[in-house]
Symmetry: C2
Subunit: 483 residues, 2 copies
């Protein structure tokens, strides 16, 4: 009976609430749906974000044990809060950032604590009235000097957080020493709890779904070069299409990917900074040449500036009739662009696989694009242009000229990628025959001497035995000679 009345009550409440619920502004509803959609997308795009969030929750609960367990709490007391604080501020998305912050915080606390204990003793010597004055003087001097040091670009890049924590620790301990004489005990507890908090962060960030800034930087550079390659591969076709039809509104999004390369500088720099803190992981050793990535990134950006200029010619409509000459030039431009694109994509793949880029392949593409550039030169020299409007030729000439620069950029990028591969001892895959073969298909007449000293080469040997199919003896024996 009681149950029934309750359910009746519930029903009436629901009935009353329904119009209210219905009356909910559609706008708010739409916003909630939109927000949910965005949240799900954010997590789906990068599941490591969800993992990171859970890791932070876990780390916080681990350091909370300092409060929950009586014996631990008796040891640290309220100082346990420094562990919680350390976890909240030190736990960053990547291992490098977490380690960097943790080490910065640890060493800065140690140094700040030691100096502040010294300052406290000095201040104590100057009597009741002199003490706060001396302390104030020390704090002022230290804070002003340290704050100024933070303006040095090199310090700002790597040790900004350490200086901040140094100021904090020095000020806190020396000033609270005025009221609390157990200053060394205070400093010791603070350091210990910070070490506990920092260690928890570092251990969790390394052990559970680690996010390596170094790997991210590596992949970012590879994908940036790949994006440039995508544009250049597609550019030739799109350019000829636009100039012919003036429309072609199909999917061009892959042509716009390169835009993110234009502004990736700060991202690359911070990733490199974090990566330098990271221990060896996966295919990267501790002293991996991270700065070389920045160099490649800068070259890629220079290439992207040229590509941005090229992109301008895709969107302008050109109406003049296409002459025979123009057609020829466009074909050569297409070839240059395509070959550069292939070379860049080859480099991107090699970086992604941390393998020595097959210099044969890449160089072939670069040489092809260079010889196309030479063709262009000779085409232009043969002044068959007299019949065409020079005005119409200007954009073509501009594109050709920009492409010549792109070829130059591509060569530079290739060189710096080779440099990276040799600095970082990327594994060599030159020796395997497979990529070689596919390349040689086009020029079967050429006998590559490199083929002979490769391992895993199958050599077909005709044995001088008669062909007897009955006894199962193969007429031709294939021996796998492990050379």
């Amino acid at each position: 009976m009681d149950m029934e009345s309750t359910s009746l009550e519930k029903a009436t409440v629901f009935a009353r609430a329904r119009p209210l619920f219905k009356g909910l502004p559609e706008k708010l509803k739409a916003k909630v749906v939109e927000l949910a959609r965005k949240t799900i997308k954010l997590g789906k795009d990068e599941p490591r974000r969800v993992a990171h969030s859970l890791k932070v929750g876990l780390a916080l609960n681990l350091v909370s044990l300092l409060y929950y367990f009586r014996p631990l709490y008796d040891n640290f007391g309220v100082s346990a809060m420094w562990a919680v604080m350390t976890v909240v501020v030190v736990f960053e998305y990547s291992v490098g950032a977490t380690l960097g912050k943790g080490l910065n915080r640890g060493f800065a606390t140690l140094l700040g604590g030691a100096l502040s204990v010294g300052a406290h003793h000095l201040a104590c010597l100057s009597g009741e009235i002199g003490e706060p004055i001396m302390l104030g003087f020390f704090v002022f001097l230290q804070a002003a000097a340290s704050t100024f040091i933070r303006f040095f670009p090199k310090i700002k890049a790597r040790y900004d957080y350490a200086v901040l924590i140094f100021i904090l620790t020095f000020s806190l301990i020396s000033v609270s020493g005025f009221r609390d004489d157990e200053i060394i005990e205070l400093a010791r507890r603070r350091l210990l709890t910070i070490l506990i908090g920092g260690s928890v962060c570092v251990i969790i960030s390394i052990l559970i779904c680690p996010v390596w800034a170094g790997l991210d930087l590596h992949n970012l550079i590879a994908s940036n070069i790949g994006k440039l390659g995508n544009f250049l591969e597609g550019f030739g076709d799109e350019y000829i299409k636009t100039s012919k039809a003036g429309e072609s509104e199909d999917d061009k999004s892959f042509l716009q990917q390169y835009k993110s390369v234009l502004t990736s500088k700060s991202n690359e720099e911070s990733l490199a900074n974090f990566a330098k803190w990271e221990p060896g992981h996966g295919r990267f050793k501790f002293r991996h040449p991270w700065n070389q990535y920045l160099k490649i990134g800068t070259l890629a950006r220079q290439c992207a500036y040229r590509i941005d200029a090229l992109n301008g010619y895709l969107n302008t409509e050109i109406q003049q009739p296409s002459s025979e000459m123009r057609y020829k030039i466009e074909e050569v431009c297409k070839e240059m662009s395509l070959e550069c694109g292939k070379a860049l994509k080859e480099l991107a793949l090699a970086i992604k696989a941390t393998s020595q880029p097959s210099s044969a392949n890449t160089n072939t593409h670069i040489e092809n694009s260079k010889s196309a550039a030479k063709n262009l030169n000779s085409l232009l020299k043969s002044s068959v242009w007299e019949d065409t409007d020079f005005l119409a030729a200007v954009p073509v000439a501009a594109v050709a000229s920009l492409l010549i620069e792109v070829v130059d950029c591509t060569e530079k990028i290739a060189e710096s990628v080779y440099e990276l591969a040799s600095m970082a001892n990327f594994k060599s895959i030159e020796a395997t025959v497979l990529p070689e073969k596919s390349q040689i298909r086009q020029r079967d007449d050429v006998k590559s001497p490199a083929k002979v000293d490769c391992p895993h080469v199958c050599i077909t040997v005709n044995e001088p035995t008669p062909a007897i199919s009955g006894n199962g003896n193969p007429s031709v024996t294939t021996r796998n000679l492990e050379l």
Copy 2:
């Protein structure tokens, strides 16, 4: 006697120390000198850095008073440390950054404190054993959710610090509530001391040599546009020089200034973020259209990409003989570049002075560059090119084509600057005669009607009195008619 022996002792100590001092590795000495030089340069380049360092020292000393004065300390106790901590982490270089961080910290502490008190009460309901489990659950849930929220780009840009402090406050207070039942008192003290610390930071950063992020952004955009203008003004000359002589290694540094524009995006964005927190200051009201600056910055960067491509043609050596035609085209290119440069510099000056850009002047320059572009077109149409090598003409054509794009960019920049000026109600200086005059010098035959309704126009009136030099009466009276 005693004095003498001491000074003797001192002398021997010095004598002994001298070789040691001399023996100091020259390298270290050089490094110290270098460091001192760098430090002085850092301060001289931007004296506001020194001021900022002193301000931080002052703010720290002010909040230290919470420790030094007995009545204050009795009120806050160890919670006084939150004030010190707040000053260290909240005091940023610009007013906007300080205010933003202070407000973020204040509100996040309030919200985090309130919710954690609620969580503490809920957890208390579940008994001795249930309490830490409930607390752990709340902390985990809150930390994971908040950490995930930090990945939203909009939150990251403006409220990242608030979310961090929310996690910190919630975790600290709810967890320490397990050991300390005076949790509301704890939260109250923490909030109060954070308010004190934050207020000290904000007040000092506004009252003493304030560094306004908004003003910095304003000046950065103006100087970026000015740098582009400098390049374009100089480009024409340099280009012709290079193509003629192939050398001219004199001071070209002003031509390289534009490079900083290529990578100023992140700087502009963070300044705009800070600026949005700032109250009205100087010539900027509270809701100044800071986003419009970002728009102008993006357009300027697009222009800079083209300029970077142009810059490539300055450094390549071109050997072909300069034909008559080429000379003509180069002259037109020079004109286009020069006029664009002038227009941009005009715009930069107007922004710097927060005045309406004299649209007459700027438009004249833009119109000039456009008509130069038209000239170029007609030059190119007249196919006098038959006599020249087309190959040699390619770079010229490329430069011409890029310059046409630069003219386009310049027009877009001008439009967005006009938009900014009208959005922000920049003061109008169209009415003053001086800039108008200098422009009219070249076309004295045109009578500008604008001249008549200007204030402060000096009109020379010949009075019909006889010229008597003796009585000091001037033969011509100049009246300042305040129209």
